[in-house]
Symmetry: C2
Subunit: 291 residues, 2 copies
């Protein structure tokens, strides 16, 4: 059983932040849970009953032994700068961003000595956004990757591992640049493609566009769900994982050229062999219980 | 209530054919249901109890008032040729292919005078294949498109409409070439992209490939499901809807270039605007109850 934190402050009460609040409460992992956000989000968080305190004042992190940055990747540096003067000695700071090297670059230099920063990324989410969209079971059975820098505090790493395992996640530790390459192909590139293909359909001539929506088949339907994800979050992911995404996009582009040529010249064997080989990957994912 | 057929013969007892057999039986729409297939499929169909008769002999269509071609698009012509000498006068012949103009080109000239051919396409399916994978509810609430040629028999069109409505589908009639353009963007292109991106991942260096499977995030996971679809069916779709698929691929390629450039130069506004606009399409699809 993981030891409960005295005071957890969640900076950014969106889908992920509010799901963490709910999960920590459900599993008794925090005595007090507070939220730092802006606009009407603090009030919404309080009225949902998922946090004990909420404010748009960064001083709300005073007294926290765990602070989690749950904002879009591009906002992590600004939020870290705003809370930094109020962080207590011994506090653990982590985040949930889908890109890790850029977050470390933006956040680490703001963290005061005696405060322990360990970057992290739960591989979980839905296409919905906002504090109302969260749920306590979001992380159940999913990976939660930690990407500590070489100088990170081992006790902080261990405590985060125990906490995220307690909410049901499987925790693994990897270097931040490696994380960013793996996620570029498993998550960032699929989202980019889904956004693109749905956008292509949006730009079709009016008559056919209506029918695309009306007769939306399974492939396109899945893409529209992916392409309904939060635009700010995803803008920041692409801007902050530029090199890995563009490298993987280059590989995809080559492979798409091979298939396009096979279609053009009527080379059925190439198409069949390619399509048959991808079935094996699906089988591996089902076997790995990630389907 | 649709009038029941005396004898329905399903040519090709895969996911779609076996689902049709189950749906016709469930709704009392056929007195006798027979299957024409090869290898061990006739025996499997009989042992599943979803057909009354099954054979690898095309003469099984003798006496049928409805024959359905449920084989990959590229095999429709061959199957039509094999059954044509055995078709009774007044019989209705239809199909379920994902491409319509090419099927009509391959099938129509084999159909004897006095037999009524009306091409069709239920927009329904799963990534699973074979007679065991079918289920009676597959077509419930889904579109079933009919693409009759101008000389098609109106009574045959009306009877097919009534039959597919009786299994729960919404039926619409459209020209075959229009069907092929709409499906190119809603179904064929998404499948091509999914096959490609999963293939790209398959070709990564061994170490990172293992991690791609292990940490498969939601985007990639959805793509692998799509890319697990039947390779022969999809090879035939691309070979037989070449022009529309390549045209849509060209448009996608242009749009992907715009996003790639925005990532490269750090143009966050372009990314955000594009990602925000695709949310609206998702909303339209949910409103159209196709999600």
């Amino acid at each position: 059983m993981a030891q409960a934190f005295e005071r957890v402050v969640i900076c950014g009460l969106g889908l992920i932040g509010s799901s963490i609040a709910r999960a920590l409460r459900k599993h008794g992992l925090a005595k007090t849970i507070a939220a730092y956000d802006r606009g009407d989000v603090p009030a919404r968080g309080l009225s949902l009953g998922i946090v004990d305190e909420a404010s748009d004042n960064p001083a709300i992190v005073v007294g926290a032994d765990l602070v989690l940055l749950c904002v879009p990747v591009g906002a992590c540096g600004v939020v870290a700068a705003s809370i930094a003067p109020h962080l207590d000695q011994g506090c653990i700071v982590s985040d949930v961003g889908s890109v890790k090297q850029a977050v470390i670059n933006q956040v680490a230099h703001h963290i005061p000595a005696g405060v322990h920063f360990v970057a992290g990324h739960p591989i979980a989410g839905t296409e919905h956004s906002g504090p109302e969209a969260g749920f306590a079971e979001l992380f159940d059975g999913r990976w939660w990757l930690l990407t500590p820098t070489p100088d990170a505090d081992q006790a902080a790493i261990d405590r985060l591992r125990a906490t995220w395992e307690a909410v049901g996640s499987k925790v693994e530790i990897m270097p931040p640049d490696h994380h960013d390459r793996v996620l570029a192909i498993t998550s960032h590139l699929p989202h980019l493609i889904a956004y693109t293909i749905v956008g292509t359909a949006t730009d079709l001539e009016g008559h056919i566009q209506q029918e695309v929506i009306k007769f939306s088949a399974s492939g396109f339907r899945d893409f529209t769900r992916i392409a309904a994800s939060d635009p700010v979050m995803w803008r920041d992911v692409f801007l902050n994982n530029r090199e890995a995404v563009l490298e993987m996009l280059g590989r995809l582009h080559e492979d798409l050229g091979i298939l396009a040529r096979a279609i053009r010249v009527g080379d059925g064997d190439t198409l069949h062999d390619k399509f048959a080989s991808t079935r094996a990957i699906r089988r591996s994912i089902i076997d790995a219980k990630q389907a």
